[in-house]
């Protein structure tokens, strides 16, 4: 039954409900697949095989009693930045290599109430800082579509695992594109919810005003099902909002009549790969055929400032958030020092990798006396302008469509020594975090057998519209059905 690992959530759910398969069989199939491809893909940091099989058995006994929710018995991998009680949570860092959280993130608690099966934890750029998963302190993940290519990042392990059928679904986190960019590079679906839609409790903090947890799945219906499970207010995250959670599958209808879609020209950037541009043009024409009204002349002129704004704000917040790693309460500790300050400095020198250090330095500088106004405050003002431009655009459009990234997956090693080049690979995704908006990436074509992603951006808390557009497009195309040649 080795094909079971290829099932989507809703396919597996139907088979489980009809008792045609068991969760144990499904979980075994996925574990076999992991054993088969993991040496090539390296998507996982921790695999909790025994636990997974135990949870699958428990799920099967629930199903036998007729107690089944959409995610019951479905095996999932979780990005290693989300706290899992009793399972080490490394954040891809030597700093937390042996950290075992005493609690679960709220999203994990929510998945547990549905009795999903936890397979383990996925690889990522250290503390979610990066766009290629090469910043993992342990090993890089390889793109299943070309093993010499990066899977994107920072949720590269979660996206590669879905592309390689190493899990039925995964969770990622997105601060500047970390769900969408790898989803685009790996031909899978990834959603960054509106800021405040999903609880961040138990998500190890990188940039608190930008971070969100979201699903990475094989198709749009699955994405909606995972959103149904994880969205909602949480008293333990005071930035989560008390708005009611809709049934995200409700609007999944195969036509786009009455929807107005803008195509912001600033996202078709100079230096973008010509095949990406062509693929997007074809995809947008498809949206028009499906009934949407397209405006090719939408404009968000402040887009060009987003990269600078992001690389001031995110490192500033990171420099404060990562101050907690001092080698005292948990994590890596280097105490071979003459005093407490030197011990802290050494702990951080040997516990953090180069990109994390770069961002702590950048953020500390931007927040330091004499530079705060020129960098941090200025960036927060431009953030207001970027948000206002989106507000204006959403008076005219129900959604905006752009490429997810300007290129297909680049080669391992190609950009690791060139921070600015690496940062530019998120140029289409990071404005959305700055404006707190929801956006989804889904498969929209190929160039030289490498996937191309389409990004659909929605109004705040209107995940339903972008899921609807994504669903209609997916129903009308075949890209998401292609499997990598592993």
């Amino acid at each position: 039954m080795s094909e079971l690992c290829q099932l989507t959530i809703h396919q597996a759910h139907e088979l489980l409900k009809q008792r045609k398969i068991s969760s144990v069989e499904l979980t075994e199939s996925v574990l076999e697949r992991i054993a088969e491809v993991e040496s090539k893909v390296q998507a996982c940091i921790t695999i909790t095989e025994d636990r997974a099989l135990r949870e699958a058995k428990e799920a099967d006994s629930c199903i036998a009693r007729g107690d089944i929710a959409p995610l019951t018995g479905i095996p999932a991998l979780i990005k290693d930045v989300i706290c899992t009680q009793g399972i080490r949570t490394t954040c891809g860092s030597k700093m937390l290599e042996n950290f075992v959280p005493p609690y679960n993130a709220t999203v994990i608690e929510k998945l547990k109430t549905q009795r999903t099966v936890m397979l383990g934890k996925t690889n990522m750029d250290e503390f979610a800082m990066g766009s290629s998963t090469e910043n993992s302190a342990f090993f890089p993940t390889h793109n299943p579509w070309g093993l010499s290519r990066v899977p994107g990042g920072s949720s590269g392990g979660s996206a590669a695992a879905i592309a390689a059928d190493e899990a039925i679904y995964t969770l990622g986190s997105d601060t500047g594109g970390s769900i969408r960019q790898p989803a685009g590079f790996c031909n899978v679906v990834g959603l960054k919810p509106t800021y405040g839609r999903v609880s961040r409790f138990g998500l190890v903090a990188f940039a608190s005003s930008l971070d969100q947890i979201g699903p990475i799945t094989k198709n749009v219906t699955d994405c909606a099902l995972v959103m149904n499970a994880i969205a909602g207010y949480d008293p333990r995250d005071s930035t989560s909002v008390p708005y009611p959670v809709p049934d995200y599958t409700r609007q999944l209808i195969p036509d786009l009549k009455g929807l107005r879609i803008g195509v912001p020209k600033e996202y078709f950037v100079e230096g973008m790969q010509s095949e990406v541009r062509t693929a997007l043009e074809i995809a947008i024409k498809k949206l028009k055929e499906l009934g949407a009204e397209i405006d090719w002349e939408a404009s968000l002129p402040s887009t060009k400032y987003a990269l600078a704004v992001y690389y001031i704000l995110a490192p500033s917040e990171a420099s404060a958030n990562l101050a907690r790693y001092d080698g005292v309460k948990y994590g890596f500790s280097q105490q071979n020092a003459s005093n407490v300050i030197e011990a802290t400095e050494k702990t951080r020198q040997f516990g953090f990798g180069p990109e994390v250090k770069r961002r702590i330095m950048l953020g500390t500088y931007a927040l330091s006396a004499g530079y705060y106004d020129a960098y941090y405050l200025k960036a927060q003002k431009v953030r207001t302008l970027i948000k206002q431009e989106f507000d204006q655009a959403f008076k005219k459009y129900d959604a905006l469509v752009t490429p997810t990234s300007p290129t297909t997956a680049f080669k391992l090693g190609e950009k690791i020594e060139h921070p600015i080049q690496m940062y530019l690979s998120d140029v289409c995704t990071l404005p959305i975090n700055i404006a707190d908006l929801p956006a989804i990436s889904l498969p929209a074509g190929f160039a030289d057998n490498l996937p191309i992603g389409m990004q659909i951006i929605g109004k705040p808390f209107d995940e339903e519209s972008i899921l609807r557009i994504a669903f209609a497009y997916e129903q009308a195309t075949e890209w998401h059905k292609r499997k990598p040649p592993l």
């Binding site: 950290f99 600078a308 400095e345 180069p354 250090k357 330091s368 927060q380």
Partner: protein, 95 residues
């Protein structure tokens, strides 16, 4: 904006981040390069633009101060690199 070796050392001190000589040299170049890319923000007029604070019109969030279950001492100390007599052990702070 060019960052000198001394400036990089000072920022590292503020961040309590130990750096090797080679790291300081490299960061001085890389950070200067990144800061150059921030110059673009000078082009945009932000007079009278309020800085962004929170995305959603949330007021202060309050809750009742209620006694609830917390973690045991042993759970909290379980990840401690060094502990002594049920406390986190640190280097002497006062000479």
């Amino acid at each position: 904006m060019k960052l000198s070796y001394e400036q990089v050392k000072h920022i590292a001190w503020l961040a309590r981040l130990g750096l090797s000589e080679a790291e300081i040299e490299k960061l001085s170049l890389q950070l200067s390069n990144i800061l150059e890319n921030f110059e673009i923000l000078k082009q945009i007029d932000t007079t009278d633009v309020p800085p962004a604070t929170h995305s959603i019109p949330l007021q202060n969030v309050f809750r009742e101060d209620e006694v609830a279950k917390s973690y045991s001492q042993s759970e909290i100390l379980a990840n401690a690199p060094r502990q002594e007599e049920s406390c986190f052990r640190v280097q002497p702070i006062l000479e």
